[in-house]
Symmetry: C2
Subunit: 281 residues, 2 copies
């Protein structure tokens, strides 16, 4: 099987490495807008060749992965579908789904496309960030899979299953809502934490000195790139604003309890927060 990966960053690159490691394809073709990233991806062995023409890259593949930021995705995915024919299968790996699925809803090749969101990543980006095993044991969400051809869904289930991923089917609206609650909000809190500390702590050496594992893990996502995250926040804006308002409310409540010195209620709130331990042990 030949696989074409469009966008050789953290996710596209890691998927190439993982699929190759599992022996699921022999030949990997890469498409990458950045010449520097394309060269590095070749050096790192993420792909076997770089193809600069999108439709040429698509036509030679059995399976096509579109792994570009969500703003580019809205233009690239329809162009990819223009070039495919059965039995070729196309997936995206994007973090938001409603806008994307609307953009291809009436495409004549819609059935060849399976909307997929592997819930895995790190704060790093680019081909250097690609690692095999990134997806091992993680969840992959397939969205509106009933609008994809059954053979396309089967191939996608086989490939992600071989990477030891857990499959979850959601409709696009539910996907965007739940990922806002669980994934997107934690990036915003982390960006805001970094901005807070950089604003208050003018002695950068003190941040380095005093950063323990706790601070480092909470602020880790603040290293994530705006090129990836601004399009996600844009496409999932209403859900993110909704959960962000709840988060502001919770923070203001904790502030009020501390200001009032209501330590009994503060203890109750922290005990309530500790329930997360039951869900994520």
């Amino acid at each position: 099987m030949t696989i074409t990966i469009i966008g050789l960053g953290l996710i596209g690159g890691s998927l190439a490495l993982s699929l190759r490691q599992q022996g699921l394809a022999r030949h990997f073709v890469g498409v990458e807008a950045s010449l520097a990233h394309a060269r590095r991806a070749l050096e790192l062995g993420l792909v076997d060749e770089i193809e600069t023409d999108l439709s040429t890259a698509v036509r030679q593949a059995d399976f096509i992965v579109v792994a570009v930021p969500m703003d580019a995705m809205l233009a690239v995915l329809p162009a990819v579908l223009d070039a495919v024919a059965p039995p070729q299968v196309v997936i995206d790996v994007g973090s938001t789904k409603q806008a994307l699925l609307a953009a291809v809803a009436r495409h004549p090749r819609r059935g060849r496309f399976v909307a997929a969101h592997p819930m895995a990543g790190t704060e790093h980006s680019g081909p250097e960030a690609a690692v095999p095993g990134l997806f091992d044991g993680k969840t992959v969400v397939l969205c509106d899979a009933e609008q994809s051809d059954p053979d396309a869904v089967q191939l996608v289930e086989k490939l992600f299953g071989a990477l030891a991923m857990r499959l979850l089917c959601l409709d696009a609206a539910a996907h965007d809502l739940h990922t806002a609650y669980v994934s997107h909000i934690s990036h915003i809190t982390s960006f805001a934490l970094a901005l807070t500390v950089l604003e208050k702590e003018k002695e950068e050496q003190r941040i380095f000195d005093l950063a323990s594992g706790g601070f480092a893990s909470t602020v880790r996502l603040a290293k994530s790139s705006p090129a990836m995250w601004v399009p996600i926040l844009r496409q999932n804006r209403l859900n993110v604003l909704d959960v962000l308002d709840e988060h502001l409310h919770q923070l203001q409540h904790l502030r009020k309890l501390l200001a009032r010195e209501d330590y009994g209620s503060l203890t109750q709130q922290i005990e309530q927060a500790n329930h997360i331990r039951k869900i994520l042990p």
Copy 2:
């Protein structure tokens, strides 16, 4: 050397294991308010014996570590100092310093006490949470060390040095300010994130399904116990309120930019947050 550890939780227990591993003491005596924790600490080999009488436990030791929550610390540390005489040395390992140092400022044995804050920990608590190597490569802050006897400071430097810790000297006011900025605020953001997700996401299975490494790391500190954290927030209340106000301001600013669809400024803010990468690579 005999070391007495008062409070056999995460920090006290890990310190016992680490000091023993480095061969820095032969005999460890434990004092622990919870009978269950005392038994478990013996089973786990954190200490060689449990002593129920505080002054007996203190008098037989060369070096005494007080590792109880910050509210208990205000009562226990003066009682420990009542029982010591040169050349015995006492340290605390607490996360706030101004209230504690004020509580022992006029104690006749003040010189035998060195205020220490090892910047290390996990979200877990109790003797089961103790691990050797917790302090390896981390920073330990010594506060107002000029008010301690030079031989006491020397012993503390030797012991923490043997654990491969980096030493940093700060006055108590600076310590409480900087730890509010870097450590205490990240616990509040994490508690608030957990409360937000638990409030919005009524389907707990969805949290489990969709929690990727990013969410898990951001919410990790929300598993921390109120018994430890409420006293810290109480004793560092004004600094914490100050940094919490800045954090609310930063979050509200991000919210405003997203509500207004000002993606240029949102990109700039995320780029600004990315500067944390230079300090914590």
